[in-house]
């Protein structure tokens, strides 16, 4: 399978900015092969249970080169192609899905256990590391209840493992100037392994109520909803700060889109 649009994900702590970039004469198209196998069973003519396992190998996936940034002319490079490198990707996992499509009460429960790896010659010393979107657990419950022919209540709850992030864990000097009363240290704050830390897990509940009405030639619906109904602060990005009281580095996660009401009007014809 070949793909000519590449996801370029920033792995800097404070730039949760992902871009879709084209393949060019410098950036080769992404190539992948995948194998998947699964079983499905219908239970009591009401429920369907499926289990699927998959393994996918990718070539020419892209990533920013270490130290570069989308926002500046890193190392004198101004074009985005000079800031990226290409390497390998590997992902595998198991998906479980239990769904009910018939009756007043419908919905599904889905769970995915997965691993997602990247390997680039010029990143992390050539060692493979977890991808930013390596989600060990991804769980969702979606339910809908038809109160009457005109009113449907629905809710979904989603849980996913936090994004992988990289933090320096140790330091060492490469030069110390210590003459008379002058003391100065040149240090390297280094990384043991890329993406070896995690942001907090994300979860939220979305609820909505839908009012349908069938007109002569079309059908309309008003939908009132609440996104993240219990106001959970799901992390969008993280930054480090220095606590002058404890003398330690602290990390702060910033959330956006807390509880968000919505109203929409839909029509079908």
């Amino acid at each position: 399978m070949k793909q000519y649009i590449n996801l370029l994900a920033s792995e800097a702590l404070t730039t949760p900015l992902d871009l879709c970039t084209p393949s060019t004469d410098k950036i080769k198209p992404q190539f992948s092969w995948q194998v998947a196998t699964g079983i499905a069973k219908t239970i009591n003519d009401k429920y369907e249970l499926s289990i699927e396992g998959y393994y996918k190998k990718m070539k020419n996936v892209i990533s920013y080169i270490p130290g570069s940034s989308f926002f500046d002319d890193s190392f004198g490079e101004t074009d985005w192609e000079s800031k990226v490198t290409q390497g390998l990707g590997e992902t595998y996992g198991v998906e479980f899905l239990l769904q009910k499509d018939l009756g007043k009460f419908t919905g599904w429960i889905g769970y995915t256990l997965s691993w997602n790896w990247r390997q680039f010659d010029d990143i992390n010393g050539g060692k493979k590391y977890p991808y930013k979107y390596d989600r060990r657990h991804d769980f969702s419950i979606v339910v809908a209840y038809k109160i009457t022919d005109k009113i449907t209540l629905s809710a979904n709850w989603i849980f996913s493992t936090g994004n992988a992030i990289t933090l320096a864990t140790y330091k060492y000097p490469y030069e110390i100037y210590n003459y008379d009363s002058y003391y100065y240290v040149d240090e390297i704050n280094n990384i043991e392994n890329k993406n070896s830390f995690r942001m907090s897990n994300s979860h939220r509940l979305d609820v909505s109520i839908e009012f349908h009405k069938k007109k002569k030639k079309w059908e309309r619906a008003w939908v009132l909803g609440i996104y993240n109904a219990y106001f959970h602060k799901n992390p969008f990005f993280i930054y480090s700060d220095y606590d002058y009281i404890t003398g330690k580095t602290i990390f702060k996660e910033i959330s956006i889109l807390p509880l968000l009401p919505s109203i929409s009007y839909q029509f079908k014809f």
Binding site: G67, S69, F75, I123, E187, I188, L259
Partner: protein
């Protein structure tokens, strides 16, 4: 106005109010850093008959940056024969002088022993001496992409075929004071080759690159610089280091680290390390020099 519209308006107002409140959107994240076991940090950079040595130790990221003097026994072996044995008891970098020339193709092993942090080792093979065919320097000889006139430094080197070579280039203005030759390093920029990195590490302020783009051929390289003719001297000296892959990787990743340090939008950098049971760098370089006059 209907009641429902009033409630909707008030809801939007509450959301807007919360959006302006940082605390409502910030969570302190507790991160458990794995316990760091301190190891030796060693930087030993050797060339034909001299070098430098610095020995210290690593710390957890939040520890103070005050380091104590360290005592260590340092041995350098040449093809398993003892070349140097010294007791390091310092906090500063020290200079090394060998009473013989290190030889290309020979294996050099560094062994650093300390009672508290154990034994750190590293092995390097000295590369062949690079061949400089020509070097020229022309003041205001080039116009940059920004439209500025800069000095043009052109360098011609011969690369060996079928081997991976790694180079580091420096340029000096040289003059004599009381019979002593003084080397004044000039800042180099690499805007015209499409490969390589500007290095800013310790005393290394040149350009590092590999031979991917000219393997086995003559490389014609163009750099920019600025020369202010401090002493009305027109003599220049090009130095080309043949370096090992490990030194190349270190200079590249250190440069990435240095130039992105403090930039919250920059991708994380892992500075490479070739010290076993420790951190740092052991390198053995073979340097060629080429003296010439400014055009």
């Amino acid at each position: 106005m209907k009641k429902s519209s009033i409630y909707l308006f008030l809801s939007i107002l509450v959301i807007a109010f919360l959006s302006s409140c940082e605390e409502a959107f910030t969570t302190i994240k507790d991160i458990d850093f794995p316990e760091h076991e301190s190891k030796l940090a060693v930087f030993a950079e050797l060339n034909q008959n001299s070098g430098s040595l610095f020995v210290s130790y690593s710390k957890e990221i939040d520890e103070s940056s005050n380091y104590n003097t360290i005592d260590a026994n340092v041995e350098i072996l040449e093809n398993d024969s003892l070349l140097l044995n010294l007791e390091y008891s310092d906090i500063n970098k020290i200079n090394l002088d060998f009473n013989k020339y290190l030889q290309p193709g020979k294996e050099y092993k560094l062994i650093v022993k300390n009672d508290e942090y154990g034994t750190a080792t590293s092995t390097q093979i000295m590369p062949q001496k690079p061949e400089i065919l020509d070097a020229k320097y022309k003041q205001d000889g080039i116009i940059t992409s920004d439209g500025y006139k800069e000095d043009k430094f052109t360098l011609q080197i011969k690369d060996n075929k079928n081997t991976d070579e790694y180079y580091y280039v420096e340029l000096y203005n040289i003059y004599e004071i009381n019979g002593v030759t003084i080397e004044n390093m000039l800042y180099l920029e690499n805007d015209f080759n499409g490969f390589g990195y500007d290095v800013y590490y310790s005393n290394y302020n040149g350009i590092v690159f590999n031979d991917t783009n000219f393997d086995g051929n003559t490389a014609n390289l163009v750099f920019t610089s600025n020369y202010y003719n401090y002493n009305n001297e027109s003599k220049m000296r090009a130095k080309v280091y043949a370096i090992t892959k490990e030194f190349y990787d270190f200079l590249v990743t250190y440069s990435q680290y240095y130039y992105s340090d403090g930039n919250p939008f920059a991708e994380p950098v892992t500075v490479t390390n070739n010290i076993e049971n420790g951190y740092g760098l052991f390198s053995v370089s073979n340097i060629a020099t080429f003296d010439f006059e400014i055009e």
